[in-house]
């Protein structure tokens, strides 16, 4: 079968699917959907359909990125747009099947938006939602629209047309096209993809390798997982184009074993490509050979670093080695190797499907195109987003994210994970691109974006990241191995109230040495969270050191819980829930917390009924409480 025939069949299948008499029900089953109960919903849908004798097509799609609204179920009737329903429960499923499928009431009260052509009164179109308005979806173009386990869906939406175009060009022309698009590595470093390819293309040797870096190790980042779970073919097509351009015949996808669903969907995708002659020997009869193998990581953050990843694929300890030689000249098994990240590959296929000029039309002068971010933390609308480079942090946090939860105050946004930094209010109007974030002390990184509010302690956050990098340091070079350990010790001292005035200078000095002398980027960027928090939140460090106070009331050693004697109603709830029996009290007697026994777990604060609000958390303050148990109401009289 030629590709034209494959495509014709795929489009026919897609159209038959869209124009079918039967209604279509889409359920988002990426990991976030599944963990919110999407799989139970599918069972419920089938049961309800059967009970009501309705015929409908139920398909599983990936993630449209509204994680806060999961689980999402979309229903489409012929000739009408999909209606997306958010936070669906089994009860809502019953209601929707009766109301919309049977009685034709689309229930705008339960709907989030419509997707696709056409209008349904009372329900906004997805592009009008504040969360989606500023977004431009290139890497995530198909996420939530196609069945990730059906290659025909991808092909019907122009999939693999980028490969077809590339195969008609010379290698040089493909590399030139990528260079012209201005695409830079989306894994974090932001190195020009075209230049990287050219190095590998120019390297001598008949055998070359290509690697897709799917070892998304940054805590707080899930862009690559969502993309692979929702649209694996966009990444695989990019890899084929890259392989053709640099002349590689074998490729690897190095993926975290923590992503079982993504691995599963990749395997299915590879099988389907094989059937369509899009993989293996003599791809589409052009004489181009390329195979892809999946390598599961085994839980080592440092393997996201190129040279460590190469060691790991070779079956060794994943420890980086000094460069040069760069992988482009001597990488896997000593052969020229090109490594790009998942998102980069998805952009590559988009660029070849459209054009370099089209892609370069988005973004800023030096940072072209779009970037995906995993927006999480204390924002109202958490999720997976894709925005043009140059958008401001304010637009991301407030327009897309909907601002801070519970109307609290914005404190900082953390970008770039353990290699990045914390950016304060004063940077909110900064356009997001590689240069600007670097100047502010952080990095774009792979795309984790965690928003924090006044309850987050910046010293504790820095300590958290250092504990991560310290644990993940491979131990090969001294500055990273010993330096991160010392920094962590100092930060732990500060958060426990044992900080000394000279600690801040010591941290700065250590940071400088670790940045300069570490072998790889893990150590080289590890001090960033500390440097940015000292730069922007020095007063929080000083408060911990001089006043032994944690302004955010987050550091366990510096806080205490008290029961407010004027508010306690003696209901016994906190006493019963206290895991260490630290609360004394009786019915209608004002409860007391034994500060020596209290482990500061916060359970009492959580369980105290909100109408009483009798438990409080303080830092550096002494509260006056009764000396012994007294009855409710007698405190004011004392």
């Amino acid at each position: 079968m030629t590709f034209e025939q494959i495509k014709k069949n795929a489009i026919a299948e897609w159209e038959a699917f869209e124009n079918n008499e039967k209604p279509r029900i889409y359920v988002g089953t990426a990991t976030c959907g599944c963990s919110s109960g999407a799989l139970d919903l599918i069972e419920k849908i089938h049961a309800e359909l059967e009970q009501n004798h309705i015929e409908a097509t139920v398909i599983e799609v990936g993630c449209i990125g509204c994680c806060y609204a999961e689980p999402l179920v979309d229903i489409a009737k012929r000739g009408r747009p999909r209606i997306s329903y958010n936070n669906v429960t089994p009860e809502i499923i019953s209601a929707l099947i009766t109301d919309y499928l049977i009685n034709d009431n689309p229930r705008p009260d339960l709907a989030l938006c419509t997707i696709g052509e056409g209008e349904i009164s009372g329900i906004p179109d997805i592009s009008d939602l504040p969360m989606f308005k500023p977004q431009v979806r290139i890497a995530l173009r198909n996420c939530g629209y196609v069945d990730p386990e059906n290659i025909n869906h991808y092909i019907a939406r122009d999939g693999y047309s980028g490969l077809i175009r590339a195969l008609k060009m010379t290698s040089e022309e493909v590399i030139e096209e990528i260079s012209k698009s201005g695409l830079r590595g989306r894994g974090g470093a932001g190195f020009s993809t075209g230049t990287k390819w050219r190095f590998c293309y120019n390297a001598s040797g008949d055998e070359k390798y290509l690697i897709c870096n799917a070892d998304e190790g940054d805590p707080g980042a899930f862009m690559d997982r969502a993309l692979l779970e929702s649209d694996p073919h966009s990444v695989l097509e990019g890899m084929l184009i890259g392989a053709y351009a640099i002349g590689a015949s074998h490729g690897y996808i190095y993926i975290r074993s923590e992503y079982p669903l993504a691995i599963d969907r990749l395997r299915t995708a590879l099988e389907q490509m094989g059937k369509y002659q899009l993989l293996g020997d003599d791809i589409l009869g052009t004489g181009f050979n390329f195979n892809i193998e999946i390598k599961e990581g085994a839980g080592a953050f440092v393997c996201g670093e190129e040279t460590a990843m190469i060691q790991s694929i070779e079956g060794k300890r994943g420890m980086p080695y000094p460069r040069p030689p760069f992988p482009a000249t001597s990488g896997l098994w000593g052969k020229p190797t090109n490594i790009n990240n998942v998102e980069t590959w998805s952009n590559v296929s988009a660029i070849l499907q459209k054009s370099a000029e089209w892609y370069a039309g988005y973004g800023t002068e030096q940072s072209k195109g779009t970037k995906t971010f995993a927006l999480a933390g204390k924002v109202v609308r958490t999720g997976l987003i894709e925005v043009p480079m140059g958008i401001t942090l304010r637009q991301i946090v407030y327009d897309i994210g909907g601002g801070i939860q519970d109307d609290k105050e914005f404190k900082a946004v953390q970008t770039g994970g353990p290699s990045g930094g914390c950016l304060p209010v004063s940077t909110l109007d900064l356009p997001v691109d590689y240069e600007n974030l670097a100047a502010a002390g952080s990095i774009v990184g792979s795309g984790g974006m965690i928003v924090t509010d006044s309850d987050t302690c910046m010293v504790d956050l820095a300590r958290y990241f250092l504990s991560f990098t310290q644990a993940e340091s491979c131990g090969k070079c001294v500055p990273c191995r010993e330096g991160t350990m010392q920094m962590l010790k100092i930060l732990t001292d500060i958060t426990e109230g044992n900080g000394k005035p000279e600690d801040i200078d010591l941290l700065l000095e250590l940071s400088e040495a670790i940045k300069l002398a570490s072998l790889c980027a893990l150590g080289g960027t590890a001090p960033n969270p500390v440097l940015t928090t000292i730069r922007y939140f020095l007063e929080e460090y000083e408060s911990h050191i001089y006043k032994k106070q944690c302004p955010a009331k987050a550091c366990k050693e510096l806080i205490s819980f008290y029961i407010l004697p004027g508010k306690c109603q003696g209901c016994l709830i906190c006493k019963r829930n206290c895991p260490v029996d630290a609360i004394a009290g009786d019915k209608r007697m004002i409860h007391l917390i034994d500060q020596n026994k209290c482990i500061k777990c916060g359970v009492c604060l959580e369980v105290c009924p909100s109408r009483f609000n009798a438990v409080t958390k303080v830092s550096g303050e002494q509260m006056i409480t009764p000396k012994e148990l007294i009855s409710v109401g007698s405190w004011e009289k004392l």
Binding site: P219, E296, A300, L461, I599, V603
Partner: protein, 172 residues
């Protein structure tokens, strides 16, 4: 037995099947026969053996070392480098508490504290009755649902310290 014979056909040790039965576990052989005897397969072999056995026992390490012709020392050196591998028998239920950034800012550490106290074990340990094992995970990628705790394959989202106790009760 077919897997057994296959294994010895490809194996260059001069031992009879009778002797071999005592020193190797058929389960491990079932795993090893899926691979070629190439060092680059070390990590996938370790992963598959752990999947079959639950952990990497001293005996399986010996067997892997023979099979791939890599010293036991080297096998341990690689296995101990990666967080995925464990060398002691795991609990029946594996509890993983996520300590990713989003979980951290939403109180993940307090969740871990509570589980540690409830079960009286530290991450990496198993309760004395082998009922529960506890692990800390750097990030599940469910950041929007933080804080997250996973028991076996079940993901619990937006966990609070008081909720942890109730979740554990489900598995006791």
């Amino acid at each position: 037995m077919k897997a057994f014979r296959e294994y010895f056909k490809n194996n260059r040790f001069n031992i009879t099947c009778g002797e071999a039965k005592e020193i190797v576990d058929t389960k491990i052989i079932g795993v090893l026969v899926q691979f070629t005897r190439d060092r680059r397969n070390l990590i996938p072999v370790l992963q598959k053996v752990q999947e079959a056995e639950g952990y990497l026992s001293a005996e399986s390490i010996t067997e892997i070392s023979h099979f791939l012709d890599v010293s036991e020392n080297d096998v341990y050196s690689v296995a101990s480098f990666y967080a995925q591998f464990r060398f002691t028998r795991p609990g029946d239920h594996i509890i993983k508490v996520c300590l990713g950034t989003a979980c951290h800012v939403r109180g993940g550490e307090r969740i871990l504290d509570n589980v540690e106290r409830e079960l009286d074990i530290q991450p990496g340990q198993t309760t004395s009755d082998y009922k529960f094992g506890l692990e800390r995970v750097a990030c599940f990628g469910c950041c929007a649902l933080a804080p997250v705790m996973v028991v076996d394959q079940n993901v619990y989202s937006r966990v609070t310290p008081a909720k942890t106790k109730k979740i554990l009760e489900l598995y006791k």
